[in-house]
Amino acid sequence: MLFRVAAIATTALAVLALASLRADAQSMTSETISFANGRVTLGGDVSATFSCTDSEISTSSVCADDTGFFNYTDYEHSALRMVRIDLIAAVRATERLSFLVEVRTEDGDRLQPYALYARIRPWLSKPIDVQVGRVPPTFGAFTRSTYASDNLLIGYPLAYQYLMSIRSDALPANADELLRMRGRGWLSTFSVGNTLPDRGLPLANAFRWDTGVQVHAVGRMVEATAALTTGSLGNPLVHDDNPGKQIATRVVVRPLPGLVLGASGAVAPFVSRAAAESAGAAASMSGLTQSALGIDAEYSRGYYLIRMETIMSDWRVPLVHTPAIDLPLRARTFLIEGRYKIRPGLYAAARFDHVGFSEVAGTARTAEWEAPVNRVELGGGYSILRNLMVKGSYQRDTRPAGRTQKLNAIATQVVFWF
């Protein structure tokens, strides 16, 4: 623990030292650090988040943790209790070629390459780019707002963070097994494939990026992106664990100033080769897919900003035993969030978020295959400096199954970026 605190402090000091390289001039710390005539630019985003919940089953007498794992990005890390440090570098090698890298550490863990890719512009006169490597997610709108400085509130949308019981390396043998894991996505166990308990998958992973090739073209009002990557929406990978690839597309239209409309789609085999073989479904592995459709909209004007996003995702898993699982397993999410600036530097924000699931019939009951979750988060932020912000929020989560079915949390976050 002491080592981890020391590691966090050392990294934070290093980031602050980097940020203050240009602090010779007043207020210069908010500027991006650049070298070699602007060919190399460095940026960063540091956030420290602390929260308290009203959990009745926590052993903590001071400030209870999120025992419902509503905000956990995996078994170890909660988005509401985290020190996260991101360092970003862009290197413009030539007019046509750039390299982008982001390394990230959460709670003092070792630095992880979050993004690492080359950006190629084949024709200088045409706004078409090819990105190769660990590339940004093509699907969805929120994946471009995951930095703490871009996120209106402290929590993340359920679609991009909430862990469901479904796994790529372990499969339920029947509907009863699946129903037993409702609300246990933080540590789910199934009898086919990897039988060890492990975290489930979110619908779309905002914390790990996929590896592959992405093509992006921009028109006057329309942007289009397509990607071919190794993993799936909920389980992005560097090394593929099955023979299939993910195809993802996104189209964005800007019909009016301030109005952004987007549509996304993705499909990929998501079950690992080992799990499919254990289920006796190696031959039909390419049909064991996660497929998703998403629609999003953003409108801003004056002091208002409103965003909406809805996603529908289907999973197809092998049918091993009876009672058979009703396929496809479906999840639907909906979020709406808004921000209003009350005065310079001060804003209020709110988000309503829901994730619901299709029903499966077990031996004793018919129920949604995962516990549906509702989340309301209310809060705001105050900018002390242009690049130093304090946020606060109240979050309420409810679901009809799982170890904790209701959770009230208050959280505060300090964000520094350059």
């Binding site: 970003i88 940004p136 471009r144 992006h216 310079p344």
Partner: protein, 237 residues
């Protein structure tokens, strides 16, 4: 009615003294009542500001979540400086007419990047880009947020407090500009070659300061003869 106007003038005078005190605290300008204001024709101060190390144009914040190369933008001219009297002569704060200035938003750049104005000046911020901008400042001297507005629209701010105001765009984090608000009119912005001229300076002895992108020179003493011109050069590292 006449009494009300007179009262208004008194309030303006009292306020101008408060502004002077604030400016002194901010280090931007101070008023030295011990310095005599000379009678007779006004003089001028002119010269050149040489910047040894020009700060590079501020780069975009690198972001890995974008799909492609960001659009081209104009580079910021950070060569221009402001030269001003540290202590203004008596009577310099009596002017009450309101001025107007413009800071455009063009190709993701504030134009001009540096604006020097007197207190009370209204600055218009027209959006010349085909997309939204959101001009704001969290500077103590003048805190404002104009919200998001589209191409062809403009919003305005009256700068009532002297001080250094850093201006940003909330949507485009690389956009930034300086507005230096003085409570007296004895300042000048340098031209492309670094030349400046402060005209209409009452004869007397003054301290003059040059300022560029947050860096200020040591005050230089100068004596301005009535009706004459004094040469004064600066070098900023």
């Amino acid at each position: 009615m006449l009494r009300r106007l007179t009262g208004g003038c008194r309030r303006i005078r009292r306020r101008s003294w408060m502004l002077t005190a604030f400016a002194a605290a901010a280090g931007l300008v101070s008023f030295d009542p011990a310095r005599p204001s000379a009678a007779g024709a006004d003089g001028s101060i002119q010269g050149r500001v040489e910047i040894r190390q020009v700060l590079p144009s501020s780069e975009r914040r690198p972001t890995v979540s974008d799909f492609g190369t960001p659009r081209e933008r104009d580079l910021v001219d950070r060569l221009k400086s402001v030269v001003y009297l540290e202590a203004a002569p008596r009577g310099a704060f009596e002017r009450t007419e309101l001025a107007r200035a413009v800071m455009n938003q063009h190709n993701e750049t504030f134009v001009p990047h540096l604006l020097a104005i007197t207190t009370g000046t209204i600055v218009d911020f027209p959006n010349g880009d085909p997309f939204f901008h959101n001009v704001f400042s969290l500077s103590k001297a003048n805190r404002f947020d104009l919200g998001r507005y589209p191409s062809g629209k403009q919003k305005s701010v009256q700068f009532t407090q002297p001080g250094i105001v850093r201006v940003f765009c909330e949507i485009h984090s690389h956009m930034n500009a300086f507005i230096l608000v003085f409570s007296h009119p004895f300042f000048a912005v340098t031209d492309d070659s670094g030349r400046y001229r402060i005209a209409g300076v009452p004869a007397g002895a003054y301290n003059v300061i040059a300022w560029n992108e947050g860096r200020a020179s040591e005050p230089k003493s100068v004596s301005v003869p009535g009706g004459g011109t004094t040469e004064l050069d600066f070098e900023l590292r």
